[in-house]
Each structure stands twice: as structure tokens, then as C-alpha cells.
């Protein structure tokens, strides 16, 4: 059986006038199964966000094809929800209306989805904040609302582009565990871009490690930690083995660098 997302020989070249063109991605091959949680980790500028945008249909690849459920991705699709690095909530809409924005734009019935929006908000601990404006919320709460907006129309795939990158370390851990809880209750195929190695390991079934520009897949590492995952798994040998393997790839091209254990 074919995988849900099939990425074949994807390349991206940015043409800039008068200057040399930049190869951001080169020959990416990746297959992602339904309901799998995959994290993509790599140094800044390795094209991991570019890859995510192409899977979301926001950007056209220069070469290769991406198929979602057997069909080639050419434009954004209802089957995909995206969470960006910043929450990008509309400051003039209440939290609930921000979640329902997705429903409005997709032309779905507001009344039907209102209940689901409220459920999702309650699930991420935002019950009672439905009528607040985004600026009344903390950064972590805003990102929670953004996740609800991406999930409200029940897409099969959730793409997350460093969604917790702008948050403080504590909020970040909290949200990572919360995301796993949501995923457990409502299974989706998740692609999660990050540059935090512990975050990548904690969340994933498989971690895709990318090389610096041009971005290539250096390795795909399977994480066999049991679920549900907890923070203290970070000190297990399995977790350490995974992080070490990722680290080895990321620092491979650089000077021998001592990474304290």
C-alpha cells in the first residue's frame, strides 16, 4: 500500500536576479504513513520550512513530485492544516472567531463547527477564553489557539513549522506534551519542523535529520520509546541514543566538536 505522503526527488532552487541561484533542497525522498508523527530537524537554512510549505501546497517545488493520498500536491488542500512559527491570530477576532476563521474561509457551516471549535479549545485548556482577544493571551495560549484553528476542520495532515520556537523553554515542553495528548485523542499525520533535538525525539515516531544547504535527508531515525511519552524519558538510554545519532549527523560536516553528554 502506498504511503499517505510520498515525496520523490524534491528539489528547490531559488533564482535571484544577478546573483547565483541558491539550491535550498536537493533530492529529498521521504514517505510518511497515515497517523505517523514525523519530526524534521536540521540546522538553520537547511530548507526544512521550505519542504513543509511545499507539502502544504504553498510553494511549488523546482523538481520532483509530492503526492498526498496518491494525488499530486499543486495547491493548498482541505486535507492539510498548518501551524506557523508565530500564532498569526487576527487581533480583531476573539479566540473562538479566530478558530472559526478556517471554517468560514473553507465555506463550512459555522453553527456545526462551533461546537467542535469549543471542544478543541477546551482540550488545549482555553475553555473560558473563547471571547477574549488574542492580545489578552500569553504566547503559549496564542499558539494553542492557532493549533485549534488548524485542527477545527479535521484535516488528515497537520504541518507544524517550528510552532514552539518563539516560546520559553517551560511553555515549550508543556505544549509538546499537550500536542502529543491531542494527537493521541485525535490521530493525524503530523509533520513537525524543529531545531530542538530533544523536542524532535520526544515527539516523533521517526526523526528526519537534514543536512545544511542544500538540504538533503542525512538520515531517518526511528524512535522506539513507548507512548505516552513523558519528560523524564529524556534520561533513558534509548532517548540518548537517538539524540546522539541526530547530533552526530548535524555536526558531521563541522570541526570535531565536543558535545557534553
Amino acid at each position: 500500500m502506498a504511503s499517505l505522503i510520498e515525496i520523490e526527488q524534491i528539489g528547490k532552487v531559488y533564482q535571484s536576479r544577478g546573483r547565483e541561484s541558491i539550491r535550498a533542497l536537493d533530492g529529498i525522498d521521504l514517505a510518511i504513513e497515515a497517523n505517523e508523527f514525523v519530526t524534521i530537524v536540521g540546522p538553520s537554512g537547511c530548507g526544512k520550512s521550505t519542504l513543509l510549505k511545499m507539502i502544504g501546497g504553498l510553494l511549488a517545488p523546482s523538481s520532483g513530485t509530492i503526492r498526498l493520498d496518491g494525488r499530486e500536491v499543486r495547491a493548498p488542500s482541505r486535507d492539510v492544516g498548518i501551524v506557523f512559527q508565530s500564532a498569526v491570530l487576527m487581533c480583531w477576532r476573539t479566540v473562538l472567531d479566530n478558530v472559526l476563521l478556517a471554517v468560514e474561509i473553507l465555506g463550512l457551516d459555522r453553527q456545526t463547527y462551533r461546537a467542535r471549535a469549543r471542544e478543541l479549545l477546551a482540550l488545549v485548556g482555553l475553555a473560558g477564553f473563547e471571547q477574549r482577544l488574542p492580545r489578552e493571551l500569553s504566547g503559549g495560549m496564542q499558539q494553542r489557539a492557532a493549533i485549534c484553528r488548524a485542527l477545527v476542520y479535521n484535516p488528515r495532515v497537520l504541518l507544524m513549522d517550528e510552532p514552539f520556537g518563539a516560546l520559553d523553554a517551560l511553555t515549550r515542553e508543556e505544549l509538546a506534551l499537550e500536542l502529543l495528548r491531542i494527537w493521541d485523542e485525535d490521530k493525524k499525520t503530523v509533520l513537525f519542523v524543529t531545531h530542538s533535538i530533544p523536542e524532535a525525539v520526544l515527539l516523533a515516531d521517526r526523526v528526519v535529520v537534514m543536512t545544511p544547504r542544500p538540504g538533503r535527508v542525512a538520515d531517518v531515525i526511528r524512535v522506539d520509546l513507548p507512548r505516552p511519552r513523558t519528560m523524564d524519558m529524556e534520561f533513558t538510554p534509548e532517548f540518548k541514543a537517538c539524540s546522539d545519532a541526530i547530533r552526530a549527523h548535524i555536526y558531521a560536516g563541522r570541526d570535531a566538536r565536543v558535545v557534553p553528554a
Binding site: 510549505k53 501546497g57 488542500s77 482541505r78 498548518i82 487576527m90 480583531w92 473553507l106
Partner: protein, 253 residues
Amino acid sequence: MTRQLAVPQWSVPVLTMVALVVAWQAFTVVFPIPVWLLPSPVAIANVTAEWQQQLPLHIGVTLYETLAGFLLAIAVAVPLAVLIVFSSFLAQTIYPILVVLQSVPKVAIAPLLLVWIGYGELPKILVVFLVAFFPIVVSTATGLIAVEPDMLDMVRSLSASRLQTFVKLRFPAAMPHIFVGLKVAMTLAVVGAVIGEFVGSDRGLGYLILVSTAQINTPLAFSAMVLLSVMSILLFYGVEGLERLVIPWARED
């Protein structure tokens, strides 16, 4: 450490104004300054009281010209800004014309309008329109363009149409910018009405200033000036109040 006095916030500017007026009055009493050169606040108040029958007409005319020109400017500038933002052809053709038009002093256009349209309120309304128009176009266009790229990607990921992107994202996001333009335009609009009246009119506060200075009735000119600035201030705060009403979410705190 400085001790905070328990005074209401508005009292400081008000007391400053009162002190200025008192100082002005004292100045005119102490020094023998002829009234045609610098009338005292009391003299200005007296002439205002004498003219209380006629003043409302002049206030009303100038207010009407200002508001009509201002509303006309909004009605034309906002849709034009939308067109400029959404069509690169229009941006390349209309925008340079607007900049050229803006660089022409409105004081120079006012007499021409008199030649073309004649007397009455219309040429004044058009001067107000010309003065108020540009800041609204620029601020609206800026607001429509200045949308976070991630925000645009977000609505695009939901397959939003251009119309949906405009109605649900660009326009509301531009509102705070638009109000900046409206506030600038509002204060300019009053100036525009006065310019229009200076060039040729038979009523309005600008006309009153022109006539009273010609007759060396300086207190009356000052009275009209004070009324003009009060009008200008009230209109400005009117727009600000409207802003708070229309976009309460943009309030800074």
C-alpha cells in the same frame, strides 16, 4: 524621590492653557499695546459675544465644507488605494499622477477652482478634498500592503480567494493605518476650507478672518481663529473617538 500629586490627568494641559491666557491678558494690561496689533483675551471674548448672532452661520458653513470635503476624500481615496494595491498597472499609472498632484500647492489650485466652478461651497469642498485625499490614499495603501507574510500564508493554506483575503484579512488589518491617515487628513481639511474661503467667498470663518483683518478688526479675526482651532481640535478627537469605537482591538495599553 518625587512625590506624585493626586491631580486628574486632564488638569495639567487645561491649567497650562488657563495660565497662558492669564499671562496674555496681564501682558496687554501692563504694556500699552494697541488693540489692532494684539487684542487681549477679554477683548476677543467681548467681540465674540457681540457677534453671537452671526457667528453660528460662519461656523456652520466652514464645518459643512470641511466635513463634506473630508467625507468625499474618504469615499474616493479608500477605493482608489484598494485599486492601487490590487493592480500593478493602476499602481504604475495612477500613483505617479497622485504624487504630482500632491506636489502642487493647494493654495495655487484654489483660485483655478474659482475660475472653473465659481463661488459657492463646492470649490471649497474640492480644496478640502484635495488636501485631505492624499494622506488617506497613502495610509490605506500602506495598511493593505503591510500584512504579515505568515498571515497571508495562513489564509492561503485555507485556499482563501482574493476577495476573502481582502475582506477577512487585508482590510481589517489596514484599519489602524487608515485611521492614522484620517486623523492627519481631518486637521488638514480645516486648513483646506480656510484656504478655499480666502480665495473667494462671502461667508465662513476663513472669510471672516479675511474681512475683519481688512477692516483692522483684529479682535474679530482672533475670535474666528480661536473658533477654527476649537473646531479643528473637536473634529480630531471626533475621529479618534470613532477609531476607538470602530477598532477597539487596536487600542494600545
